[in-house]
Symmetry: C2
């Protein structure tokens, strides 16, 4: 890391960007430092310059300058990523999308929004407040829509509304040479040609720079929330399987282990038993929820659940989901000066209970505190290790246990990352997850769209990116 | 069309395939003729040989033989396609998937099925009958799962369960050189690397040959069906918009124009008024449907709907959806000796009423009979032209009106094909829909994965496929 990028003419690129963007091309230490990190514990690295484009054509000009001087270009949204995707590990240009903040169009009847990539999800939902519609994907942080496209984000309600992939109808993308393409469209579905939209979703800025996004919106559902404690983790997971197979409309379902429940109990006003616990949201009005609540009660009782509590007041439900959203920061704050590292595996739900139980045994035998919670309806599970960053032994232990979780998930047919993305931290797992032939195809696609490897180098694909690495290409260009 | 493929050594390829596959490599006229066409009116063209592989490794061997002798390879599933994707327009190898018919694994708790590509959707659902689960994507025909992957199929219940793209978790794909890759996995979601699964879904065999598919299953819902006539097409579409925005769980909603309703009325026992009509399916048990039926009744009345009829008997509901499924063949049978050509545009739903009304005006002024119906919840709309194949004037008129529909759909931000695929018929619209830069990216991807252009040549991308056309590449290989 922190190597200079081969053949980059940084000085010339900086001068060209400053000439073009004036005050919106910044080299101050403070601004570069702000763009050197995200919310992860990956090592910071300052970019050489930060640019603040306001329109797609400006992004295209920046890409042409980056290509001309062979300088890396790394998009930066809200900085809320958890795998270092926005860290410019080879320096170069940090492309800050915060001024790409226009909500371009709301088509309420079509339940479609078009936004620039820097729009934050909370701003979009605030803007939608009078329409009865919302954009559901909710990774917790107030991420930018472009960042959520880049990482293939999801969150608590993906079990109901799907992940970014399923909620993006189209994109405007700037290619590395400054060409601008539009993918997808306004139609709800299409079989017209290759699905370029999904190729860019989850590509973390390594194939192109997303500047505009067309999103599906959804009606805000009536919802009733509930909590239930379980004698065993197995019981909690089994109850979720049974509820899903019964076809009941789960809006969200989160699993929290005893350690997490204990911290939430201390920090919030929620009444929770010291047990593995499920937080539920069911969709429907009062009458519909009355219909399904009997079935839910039976299934929970059959699986060793106790104290099913319905939170019929809006304020109580809000407190529940606020607690879920704040839990990671509360857990980190349990240890003064500590940092946290979350695993993000996702497995078929029938494998989840074993995975959680085996991980709990690991954690119990380890000196590093860890907490487990996850989007159990999708099989997506986080184990948050809270360790002291200046204690190499603790850091190594957190890494070792994190690796064991990933290895177990892959053995179960799962993925190293359900929603955080590959970034820096999961690159070395990619071949093990997909096989070397599939990764070779990904590398070929990368080379096709970014032959000099300028777009967010060092991310997603394992190093060396065989075809795309500039050193090896010197002769062919 | 019907040109020979440049550099192809057909005789050597046929000999190699016969040596390898014995009786499962067939050159008889009858079998070749069966693989010369699909359900469309595109011109038939016989392959030179038809092969019937039984396993992925056999498909890989076939691909290696095709590559060695530069012979085209065209997958053939059920032959139920509507845009000619399975027609081997340059001859070569027709790869029939009917013996790739194993259901490999059902994981009921995970609601996942793994199947070989030749499994038919009805066989899969029959196999699932004791699980309470089903695979929902239903294009009407008893298509093969591989064919549905290839075209990005959907159908009446996509409004509820999504299209193929959203119901495929992973694929096994044979690349043109015989390498085998696995994409996706068993996890419900993943952010691990580029989304190769979605790149192959909808690529119609032009990027690789799908041999195995991992599918999402869903619980079979309780459902209640209904019909309603409307004073105007606008009213029918507006009612659907209002029901969707109210967040009501629509399982299916189909729009049928008066002409289609008249034929269904004659051919079935359904009681239908001679009006633009909606066929509905709502999901929920009797109590839940009782809750939503008041809202539905109000919305329908507000939009000029009349005679909302609830079909509470299973037999009545089955008759309704059988009639919808059979309607295209009934419509075609209205004219002895005629063939039919369906448009397949998809637009944002707010544009649908105008599109249908303008098309109806076209049809009213034309001598060629036409019928309109569609998956209105998705904005996907078919106009079926029923013309005599030996009457060039009629055929030209059907083509002219079909073109007008596509042009209108594209002007509204929609797509030339919502679910039938590009095949032969929609290639010339691709640049107009996506722009030349996006199509150039598709061509670059095609060239990356199939540099000699052997995989289903002449499909999807407009001709000449600039980079991938073998003539132009002679010097670089």
């Amino acid at each position: 890391m922190n190597r200079p990028f081969p053949h980059a003419e940084i000085g010339a690129a900086v001068a060209a960007l400053q000439a073009r963007l004036g005050e919106r091309a910044v080299t101050s230490d403070a601004v570069r430092d702000h763009h050197a990190r995200d919310e992860s514990s990956h090592a910071a690295r300052k970019p050489d310059i930060v640019v603040f484009p306001e329109a797609t054509h400006e992004v295209a000009e920046i890409a042409r300058i980056a290509s001309a001087f062979q300088v890396p270009i790394v998009p930066f949204g809200a900085g809320s990523g958890l795998e270092g995707a926005a860290i410019p590990v080879f320096g170069g240009i940090s492309l800050d999308t915060s001024r790409l903040d226009a909500i371009l169009e709301i088509r309420a009847d079509d339940m479609i929004a078009r936004v620039q990539a820097g729009v934050r999800r909370q701003a979009l939902n605030h803007h939608l407040r009078d329409t009865g519609l919302f954009f559901p994907v909710d990774p917790g942080a107030d991420a930018s829509i472009g960042g959520m496209v880049a990482t293939g984000a999801s969150g608590t309600n993906a079990v109901r509304f799907g992940v970014m992939r399923e909620n993006v109808l189209g994109l405007t993308v700037v290619l590395v040479d400054g060409r601008v393409i539009r993918t997808g469209g306004l139609a709800r579905k299409s079989s017209a040609g290759y699905d370029l939209t999904r190729l860019f979703v989850g590509s973390e800025g390594t194939l192109g720079i997303v500047t505009e996004v067309t999103l599906r919106l959804h009606p805000i559902p009536d919802a009733v929330s509930a909590t239930a404690g379980f004698m065993t983790l197995y019981g909690a997971v089994a109850a979720v399987v049974d509820i899903k197979r019964a076809g009941i409309a789960i809006g969200r379902v989160e699993l929290l282990d005893e350690a997490t429940v204990a911290v939430i109990g201390r920090r919030s006003s929620l009444e929770l038993d010291p047990l593995p616990t499920l937080f539920f949201e069911f969709h429907g009005d009062a009458a519909e929820v009355a219909v399904l609540s009997n079935t839910v009660s039976e299934i929970i009782a059959e699986n060793g659940g106790t104290n099913l509590r319905w939170l019929r007041e809006d304020a109580a439900a809000r407190a529940l989901w606020d607690a879920r959203r704040l839990a990671p920061s509360w857990l980190k704050a349990e240890r003064l000066g500590a940092v946290s590292r979350p695993s993000d595996v996702c497995v078929p739900v029938s494998s989840l209970a074993d995975l959680v139980a085996e991980t709990r045994a690991d954690v119990a035998a380890s000196p590093v505190p860890a907490y487990m919670f996850g989007h159990v309806g999708d099989g997506n599970f986080h184990c948050l290790f809270v360790y002291h960053p200046n204690d190499p032994a603790e850091e190594a232990e957190a890494a070792r246990l994190g690796d064991r979780i990933v290895a177990r998930a892959l053995a179960a047919g799962g993925t190293a990352t359900g929603e955080h993305g590959v970034g820096l931290g999961k690159r070395r797992w990619l071949e093990r997850e997909h096989g070397s032939e599939a990764v070779a195809v990904m590398q070929a696609l990368k080379f096709t769209l970014d032959p000099l490897g300028l777009l967010n180098p060092g991310k997603v694909l394992p190093e060396p990116t065989t075809l795309a690495w500039p050193d090896q290409l010197a002769s062919s260009f």
